[in-house]
């Protein structure tokens, strides 16, 4: 999923958790900043990155993600896979909810059924719908999910309809996180979780504070709290970091050079390629001529966009699987060739160029990229108009296939190439499923499906890489780049690790010096 807006980690010398005045410098709360206020933190309702990041702190799943993005044990100590579709999980006996109650296999079943039950109204039931019997349960035809069983308190069996290799990774998503369905909701209307942190205060629009879960094995030792402040303007977030009241800042693109090239700050800058790709989706039902799609790629100088607008720290995308995922391949790109673009357009029947609307949603970095693309296309004779809409109006039009082209980015929810190719290019996902370019190719569909059934990880990665090459040769998008995120920590912070995916934070290694 791509996030409406990005979560930003920042940290700050804190105001005390309850909002009472404590002098800066005495607290060891790690203060972070968010660009947009999370709406829901209950795992069943979490849909964006900011929400997911905080949700992952308070709620453990059967599995979770380490900061390098690899799969890590959660409340499940270990697991085995039989026939490619039967998982047996062993619940960690030490796992406890923040109210002290031990996590049992039946809690996992109850949590999953909660997400699947229509009465809950979760928008993320699709995460669990590959479990056998989930559809019958959701339709009310069965009292339980047939594919979920608990032979004893510490053993959980999950059966799928058919083998699906990425399933294990999907169990790390917020919707598959475990909640205590027996205890009442807390003061913030949230269920108790079994994560390393507990959401202690939720002042909407202002801040969210977390304290350690005393029962968690990986609870942080070096800090006594985490606090997220909501600061909408990038300019203000930087000011807060510079004035010393934020510990960790996600550096805005415009300021990357300033922090990275200054010897006083350079050593504290951390960088990590994101599992994310920026692209201009072309309406493949409208631009059916491959020459036109290729020309639109040729007309954009991606390297220059990266250098000037993205702080020089991004990788040009010649495919949709980002570096950092198995399945990424370096491959030669179309390049930047304005004359060739003009020639192709003329050949395709547009000697005088053509007019295209590029839809975009509100986002600072997106706005700049769109403006640059508009400028490049103009030079190649493609007259582009930028159309900016709020998120839901944007989605409504784009998912209905009503637009020529749109600028968007895609975040990996779980570290698997499947999470890029299947939603973005499989013909069954046209529209709301993620394939908003309305790309459709039977061979591509077949390869994506086949890859998800390959048990061997290397073979699977190879199959995805091949499929990605095939897709790239069709130019369903104007491929832009894989961004790199840069964070800077204040001098008082030690052990802050930049997670490879937004669900991979736990801050267990962070120490804040007084």
């Amino acid at each position: 999923m791509i996030l409406a807006r990005r979560a930003i980690a920042g940290g700050l010398i804190a105001l005390a958790l309850a909002g009472c005045a404590r002098e800066p410098g005495t607290s060891s709360t790690l203060e972070l900043a968010l660009e947009t206020a999370p709406n829901r933190l209950d795992p069943a309702f979490v849909v964006d990155v900011a929400e997911g990041e905080i949700c992952a702190l308070a709620y453990d799943g059967l599995v979770g993600f380490a900061s390098d993005g690899s799969l890590a044990p959660g409340v499940a100590r270990d697991w085995t896979l039989e026939d490619g579709r039967r998982y047996v999980f062993h619940i960690d006996r030490r796992a406890r909810f923040s109210n002290g109650r031990p996590v049992a296999a039946s809690d996992v079943i109850a949590s999953f059924e909660r997400v699947l039950a229509p009465a809950t109204g979760s928008p993320r039931a699709w995460v669990l719908e590959r479990i056998r019997g989930s559809a019958a349960f959701a339709a009310g035809d069965a009292s339980g999910v047939a594919g979920l069983s608990a032979p004893d308190d510490s053993t959980l069996v999950i059966e799928l309809d058919e083998p699906f290799a990425p399933f294990l990774s999907m169990l790390g998503l917020p919707a598959a996180r475990i909640v205590d369905t027996r205890a009442p909701l807390d003061a913030n209307d949230l269920p108790a979780g079994a994560g390393p942190w507990v959401i202690s205060e939720w002042a909407r629009g202002d801040r969210i504070s977390l304290v350690p879960n005393p029962y968690h094995a990986r609870r942080a030792r070096g800090i006594d709290g985490v606090s997220y402040r909501i600061i909408p303007e990038a300019f203000t977030r930087v000011a807060e970091f510079e004035s010393g009241s934020i510990d960790v800042l996600e550096i805005p693109d415009a300021e990357v050079g300033r922090f990275r090239d200054d010897p006083r700050t350079a050593s504290r800058v951390m960088r990590r390629p994101e599992l994310r790709v920026f692209y201009v989706g072309l309406n493949n039902q409208r631009f059916t001529d491959a020459r036109v799609r290729r020309a639109l790629n040729l007309a954009v100088n991606v390297d220059q966009i990266i250098r000037v607008l993205a702080g020089g720290d991004a990788i040009a995308a010649h495919g949709s699987i980002p570096p950092g995922l198995a399945g990424y391949r370096e491959r030669p790109g179309a390049g930047y060739d304005r004359d060739e673009a003009r020639r192709l357009l003329a050949e395709a029947g547009y000697p005088d160029g053509l007019s295209i609307e590029i839809w975009q949603r509100e986002s600072t970095e997106g706005n700049r990229i769109a403006e640059a693309i508009q400028g490049y296309w103009e030079e190649a004779g493609v007259h582009a108009t930028l159309v900016r809409r709020e998120w839901s109006a944007f989605k409504q039009a784009v998912s209905a296939g009503k637009v020529d082209a749109f600028l968007l980015d895609w975040f990996g929810d779980y570290p698997d190439a499947e999470n890029f190719l299947f939603p973005l290019f499989h013909s069954s996902n046209q529209g709301g499923g993620g394939n908003r370019a309305f790309f459709s190719d039977p061979e591509v569909d077949r390869r994506i499906e086949a890859a998800s059934r390959i048990p061997d990880a290397d073979e699977r990665a190879h199959a995805y890489a091949e499929a990605d090459s095939l897709i790239y040769s069709h130019f369903p998008w104007v491929y832009l780049y894989f961004p790199t995120t840069l964070h800077i920590a204040s001098e008082r912070i030690r052990g802050y690790r930049l997670p490879a995916i937004y669900l991979g934070n736990d801050f267990s290694s962070v120490v804040k010096q007084p």
């Binding site: 996030l3 309702f45 709020e390 039009a397």
Partner: protein, 311 residues
């Protein structure tokens, strides 16, 4: 005065109905689908259809309007689509911050405005006067968002004396920059009104003094002048106070102030219909209440003002 107040309050009902209807129609006619803001990037058609039914978005417009009015009559603003919380709870949570900022801005506008106005009148014609008057005219003409940025740049980033943003758990230091930003334009108006009132009074007093050969006590002079300036100041500050309460969207955004304006802006960007409707209605009522208060205050201060003559 009581009868007048009751009549004005009764008049609120049709006005509220008008505001509620406009908001409702506008929001339901504009493109964009609230369900789509709830589901994240990846969703399927069944989820959308199910949510739409649950939210009664597939009912005909007139039925939804009737539902909305029925809920309103029961003083129920509904639940937010995105947070699932009652809208009234969110408003109650955010309003104190907005009120705090508005009161601080009003206090600054009155105190600083009157002080500047009196000083300028006292030193009339001097470079000091020109500086103050000129400064106040420029102050009115500056876009608030730009002023806010300049203040953060100067006081937080360069000088490092004031926090750049946030509510800060209610500490005064956090209130200063946003309040000054918000108050700038009103301060300038109050200063100009005060200055001209004091000048009028000085002129009048000179006439009296010349006639009676008595001494003009400066303090009395200022007090007289201020009484004259009171009505226009109440008007200016009252109208501005009403708009501060409507949430200073820009100021709240720049300073990450968790008030009602920011709340409504977020709701708009997320298509959270109940939240937008509730917040807009609440603001409109506040605005009308403040106007009523201003009119009552008017009659209090100046017995010549007759209430109820014209709206």
């Amino acid at each position: 005065m009581l009868a007048y107040t009751v009549r004005r309050l009764l008049l609120f009902i049709p006005l509220m109905l008008g505001v509620a209807t406009i908001t409702f129609l506008l929001l339901h006619v504009l493109p964009g689908d609230p369900v789509l803001s709830m589901v994240g990037e990846r969703y399927d058609a069944e989820t959308i259809a199910r949510l739409r039914t649950e939210m009664r978005l597939d009912a005909p417009l007139y039925e939804r309007y009737a539902d909305y009015l029925r809920d309103l009559a029961r003083l129920d603003l509904g639940r937010s689509y995105v947070t699932g919380k009652p809208v009234w709870d969110s408003i109650r949570e955010r309003f104190p911050q907005t009120l705090r900022l508005a009161l601080a801005a009003m206090a600054i506008a009155v105190l600083a405005g009157v002080t500047i106005g009196v000083l300028a009148a006292w030193k009339r014609g001097s470079p000091f006067d020109y500086l103050l008057v000129g400064g106040s005219v420029v102050g009115v003409s500056m876009p608030v968002f730009w002023l806010g940025v300049l203040l953060i740049y100067a006081f937080s980033m360069r000088l490092g004396v004031l926090p750049a943003s946030g509510y800060g758990g209610g500490r005064i230091a956090y209130l200063l920059l946003p309040a000054v930003t918000l108050a700038a334009a009103s301060t300038a108006y109050v200063a100009r009104i005060t200055r001209s009132s004091v000048l009028d009074e000085i002129n009048e007093t000179y006439v009296k003094v010349a006639r009676a050969k008595g001494a003009g006590e400066p303090r009395i002079l200022v007090r007289h002048a201020l009484r004259n300036a009171l009505l226009p100041i109440i008007t200016v500050v009252g109208v501005d106070f009403g708009s501060y309460l409507s949430g200073a969207v820009l100021t709240e955004s720049i300073f990450a102030w968790p008030g009602l304006g920011r709340f409504t802006l977020d709701a708009i960007l997320k298509r959270d219909l109940p939240a937008i409707q509730g917040a807009v209605l609440f603001m409109a009522i506040l605005f009308m209440l403040v106007n009523l208060a201003v009119d009552l205050l008017y009659a209090r201060v100046d017995p010549r003002v007759k209430l109820g003559r014209s709206s």
